[in-house]
Amino acid sequence: DTAVSQTPKYLVTQMGNDKSIKCEQNLGHDTMYWYKQDSKKFLKIMFSYNNKELIINETVPNRFSPKSPDKAHLNLHINSLELGDSAVYFCASSQNAGAGNTIYFGEGSWLTVV
């Protein structure tokens, strides 16, 4: 039973399209995250939500809009996709937002924009 699951795992789409990646965690955690791993393998935080409230927003273009309908879900919607958005997007969760709480990652969603 996957702890942090995200769909789709692979997504190929054209420039200008709008797409969403869904994430769910069944760990009962309060905090969820989106991380992005780009072509140079840098893994960087994009957003963090705690109890459905946005607590970290790392200067991500506003074409990226996270939405947390409840504590167990954090979806990522991307408008007007650009070539540079091609990356692996990882959803993650932790018990709460403080340092020292283990962050559990999903398997990643491979987004390719053509």
């Binding site: 942090v4 893994l43 960087k44 935080i45 963090s48 403080g98 340092a99 020292g100 990652f105 398997e107």
Partner: protein, 112 residues
């Protein structure tokens, strides 16, 4: 500006020997450090962590050492096993809301 650096992109070790993976950081506000392990097509999985108030933390075959004055940490795996072959990411965060800053990873290959 890369605040967490792993200068060795790859490391090859024989089974049974020690693997030492290194990590340097520049932000003196970091006070919690972690190592994650990643297999292809999977997400990173937590391996071991260390708080800045300690200089060593051990968990089975894995030991993390922290040298705050040098802003350096290392992960020791002993004995290394072929199943340890993966990419290892060093990460750090400061107090407050957890915001992991990752290095670029070191690919470890343990050969039988």
């Amino acid at each position: 500006d890369q605040q967490v650096k792993q200068n060795s992109p790859s490391l090859s070790v024989q089974e049974g020997r020690i693997s030492i993976l290194n990590c340097d950081y520049t932000n003196s506000m970091f006070d919690y450090f972690l190592w994650y392990k990643k297999y292809p097509a999977e997400g990173p999985t937590f391996l071991i962590s260390i708080s800045s108030i300690k200089d060593k933390n051990e968990d089975g075959r894995f030991t993390v050492f922290l040298n705050k004055s040098a802003k350096h940490l290392s992960l020791h795996i002993v004995p290394s096993q072929p199943g340890d072959s993966a990419v290892y990411f060093c990460a750090a965060t400061d107090t407050g809301f957890q915001k992991l800053v990752f290095g670029t990873g070191t690919r470890l290959l343990v050969s039988p």
